[in-house]
């Protein structure tokens, strides 16, 4: 019964997603096709990867505002190394992934050892990464390297005539790994324990320091990987890429049913949260007459509804406990 209540937000999200797809299919011809659904994945692969990293951070009770900037930094470093310095992509991609992870580790270490709010440390990280982009280049660097263009244009055919890109495969692999990491490993359980109560986790002898820093490392790594995927998607590096993505990411995690106070949440829910945002965008583009800024308003409203919903759920849980 208890498990059900924790699953409830995810189920609501899933129901909402189904309702939105149903509404879309009835209203617009050509909406209900497998390709439209796969396009959702193709266009949001980078968001899925970022949001998965963010889920771990939020479940541990923190927040990471630097994700969008790290993506931009990754795109611009990859683009300038590959195009201007002529480095092979096989060296550049592992290098940027390590760089993202190190960036996260440093932020995590500052957060843990100096007891500064994650909000402000990752804010500094966001400034730093965004600023470094402009130090490297203030212009767009287009990528013409054959490896990048091959990966970007590769279409993996699926039965039924539809296709997905390599990015989608990467995102889905990350999703499966993350579900495994969150629910079937010691690290995952530690993250949930710390999010529930850091004090208790410490008293239980769990490795709080290591876990907290690793959570930010993971988020940094996911952002860098999302940056690589984004580079494939856009085939360019630019300091203004992924502007404001941190908000979309947090919104996806919240809509996916993760509690912002930490301790409760599902990686699979986050995946649904990203898909809901994608569906809203698809519906608005199918509608044609609505302008793109409605996306922001609708996402803001949904955030509001979901947060209130969570609030009600957690309040009921508290009152249920006091009754016992």
């Amino acid at each position: 019964m208890y498990l059900n209540r924790k699953l409830l937000p995810v189920l609501v999200t899933f129901g909402l997603l189904a309702v939105m797809i149903a509404i879309g299919s009835f209203r617009y011809t050509g909406f209900f096709s497998t390709q439209v659904l796969f396009n959702l994945l193709i266009d949001n692969a980078f968001l899925i990867i970022t949001a998965i990293g963010m889920t771990f951070v939020i479940v541990s009770g923190g927040i990471d505002l630097s994700v969008g900037s790290v993506i931009a930094l990754t795109t611009i470093i990859s683009a300038s190394l590959v195009e201007k310095q002529g480095w092979p992509p096989t060296v550049v991609i592992p290098m940027v992934l390590v760089m993202g992870a190190v960036f996260g580790t440093v932020m995590g270490a500052i957060i843990y050892y100096f007891k500064i709010q994650p909000f402000i440390v990752t804010l500094a990280g966001m400034f730093l990464a965004r600023g470094l982009c402009y130090v490297i280049s203030t212009d767009t660097i287009t990528i013409t390297n054959s490896f990048y263009t091959d990966v970007a244009q590769a279409k993996i055919p699926l039965p039924g005539g539809s296709f997905v890109s390599i990015n989608v495969i990467i995102a889905l692999v990350v999703l499966l790994l993350a579900i495994f990491l969150a629910h079937y490993t010691r690290f995952g359980r530690n993250v949930y324990a710390i999010g529930g109560s850091e004090q208790s986790a410490m008293l239980m002898g769990l490795p709080v320091a290591r876990t907290k820093i690793l959570v930010y490392t993971l988020s940094g790594f996911c952002s860098a990987l999302a940056g690589v995927v984004f580079t494939f998607y856009m085939l360019s590096g630019y300091g203004l890429h992924a502007m404001g993505l941190e908000l979309d990411t947090i919104a996806a995690v919240v809509i996916g049913g993760t509690l912002l106070t930490g301790g409760v949440g599902y990686v699979a829910g986050t995946f649904l949260g990203v898909l809901i945002q994608g569906i809203i965008q698809t519906i608005i583009s199918f509608e044609g007459t609505l302008s793109s800024w409605w996306t922001k308003i609708v996402i803001g409203l949904m955030l509001f509804v979901f947060i209130l919903f969570q609030r009600l759920l957690s309040e009921r849980r508290v009152s249920a406990k006091t009754l016992q």
Binding site: I63, I110, Y113, F114, K115, I116, Q117, F119, I120, V121, L123, A124, G125, M126, F127, L128, R130, G131, L132, C133, Y134, V135, T138, G239, L247, I250, A251, V254, L260, T261, S291, W293, W294, T295, K296, I297, I299, G300, L301, L303, F304, I307, L308, R311
Partner: protein, 347 residues
């Protein structure tokens, strides 16, 4: 005497501002020169005050919010909405020279800013949602609302009366400075000459305990968010009237971050419970001076972000108790090795 000065909360911010100004003086000796032209003063210092006015306003509001232990991420969006509302009303008006048109535009956008402040405040105090998340909603949706008002376009107005707010001058100084001074004066008087400041600090320290002690914590929290919305609304008017246009997408972009930075530099702790309005003003001036300096020495302006990142980090490290303790321990170790075992356990 000097050690007492160093203890004063404004010492470090003032030092930083002084150093920045000194650097400017050395780099270009005519930085401090003021020119009188057509009855108005011109010069880099006046520019800093004029362009810094919206930031100072937003930061004043943010200080009080942070003092209650909260944060308001939506100020940038409110700045955009308020500017968009005013420009929209004026551009729709039939009689451009009418005083009432401008007045109604101002009333509408200030009213809207107040409503948005109430929305934020109600989410935090009544619905008890975490401040970061509660204001995040408006931060995301607010940009959309601003674009909805302007219909996604940049609206330009040519109304002399409206321009006066952000670009006019009074007694040889930009008019915006007087707006800032008025708001600052009201805020200082309200918080330091009445019990309100004490209430805010007490709520920031412990909202529940304050409630039990008879302070209406919810009302106090609601009030600071409304005040912050008001400040952001006025800032939006100044910003849009200075350039005579409203841009729903870019007006007030990153303002929330600059304002938080200004508050933190000014010595207000992000944990709440204590605030320094004058420190915030100096913090905002430091940020504006930094921006002006970076423009002047010809570094690409985007690099400001890197500098800001290090400033935020340095200030936070200095404020962090565990960082100070670890530094102190390291310094002490060398002098008195015997004291090592006496260090109290830090939880």
């Amino acid at each position: 005497m000097i050690s007492r000065m160093r203890k004063h909360h404004l010492f470090w911010p003032l030092c930083m501002l002084g150093l920045l100004l000194l650097f400017n003086l050395l780099y270009s000796p005519d930085f401090f020169s003021l020119v009188m032209r057509e009855g108005n003063l011109y010069g880099s210092l006046i520019d800093i005050l004029n362009f810094g006015a919206p930031l100072i306003l937003v930061s004043i509001g943010m200080t009080l919010v942070i003092a209650t232990g909260g944060i308001d991420l939506s100020v940038g969006s409110i700045v955009a909405i308020s500017g968009a509302m005013a420009c929209m009303t004026i551009s729709k008006g039939t009689d451009q020279s009418s005083f009432w048109l401008v007045l109604s535009a101002l009333a509408l956008s200030i009213g809207l800013a107040l409503v948005l402040g109430v929305w934020n405040g109600a989410l935090v105090s009544v619905a008890r949602i975490q401040p970061i998340i509660a204001t995040l909603i408006l931060m995301v949706a607010g940009r959309g609302i601003a674009q909805l008002i302007t219909d996604g376009q940049i609206i330009t107005v040519s109304n002399a009366q409206y321009q006066y707010i952000g670009a006019g001058s009074l007694a040889a100084l930009p008019f915006s400075i007087f707006i800032v001074l008025t708001v600052l004066l009201i805020a200082v008087l309200l918080t330091r000459k009445t019990a309100l400041g004490l209430f805010i600090e007490s709520v920031g320290n412990n909202a529940r305990a304050s409630q039990l002690a008879g302070i209406r914590s919810k009302t106090v929290i609601l009030a600071v968010y409304v005040f912050c919305g008001l400040c952001a609304g006025i800032a939006g008017l100044i910003l849009s009237s200075n350039v005579s246009s409203a841009d729903g997408n870019n007006a007030g972009l990153w303002y929330e971050l600059d304002a938080i930075l200004a508050v933190v530099i000014g010595g207000t702790s992000l944990n709440g419970g204590r605030f320094y309005l004058m420190g915030t003003v100096i913090g905002a001036l430091i940020i504006q001076t930094l921006t002006t300096t970076i423009y002047m020495i010809g570094v690409p302006p985007e690099v400001t972000l890197v500098v800001k990142a290090f400033v935020v980090l340095a200030v936070c490290l200095i404020q962090s108790e565990s960082f100070r303790k670890s530094m102190a321990v390291r310094l002490k170790k060398r002098k008195f090795p015997a004291e090592q075992g006496v260090n109290r356990h830090v939880s």
